[in-house]
């Protein structure tokens, strides 16, 4: 079992349900191969840096999963066959990548709380600074 990370771009013509359906399809393929999904992220509709198949936007989706290396080939073939997919990229995660993903995940979960918490400690921190001086 290796850990992999796949980012893929779906065409912007899909509706929200179709996007969910597409993601579900690839989740299902992984499950069929005995894979385990560790994490997923939907980045939503994003602007592409350059047009792909004459489209300038796309739905980005990230999947982080553990699966046998033999399952990757059929998994990627499925991406190539699917017309809804503009681009995909799978990478095997080494230990540094996995550690980074872990930190990134914790940060992104903590992010909504951070703006609320940040202004509160600021006035407290300021007097401390002057004391030290």
């Amino acid at each position: 079992m290796n850990r992999y990370e796949t980012v893929f771009i779906m065409t912007p013509v899909l509706s929200a349900e179709q996007v969910a359906e597409t993601v579900e399809k690839f989740r299902g393929i992984l499950k069929n191969h005995g894979g385990k999904i560790v994490h997923e992220e939907a980045w939503g509709l994003r602007k592409l840096a350059y047009p792909i198949q004459k489209k300038s936007t796309g739905f980005y989706q990230l999947l982080e999963f553990e699966v046998d290396p033999t399952a990757i080939l059929p998994f990627e073939t499925e991406f190539r066959r699917d017309e809804r997919i503009l681009r995909f990229l799978s990478t095997r995660m080494d230990k540094h990548h996995a550690a980074y993903a872990e930190r990134r995940r914790n940060k992104s979960y903590a992010a909504p709380e951070a703006p609320a918490a940040a202004p509160a400690p600021a006035p407290v921190a300021a007097p401390e600074m002057t004391d030290e001086d």
Binding site: V7, I9, A49, R87, L89, A99, Y100
Partner: protein, 87 residues
Amino acid sequence: MAEKNVRYLNPISIDTQKEKYCRFKVKGIKYIDYKDANFLLMLCNEQGKILPRRLTGTSLKYQRKVAQAIKKARHLALMPYVADNLH
């Protein structure tokens, strides 16, 4: 006292060039994320080309990783292959 008033015809060449260092080694960054396009943009010029090591000071080990990350980001259209005014 007279020494203070010594003037030179030409300004003395002082080596003001800052010592370059590898930002990844110094900060202990082991993995360079291809999904973070804003960070990778710092290592590119205005045309979206990868800056050479002699300008950024990155060590060879991490320059290879930077190059890989930028190429992955380009494939996923997070960064342009060619651009006019990135910065």
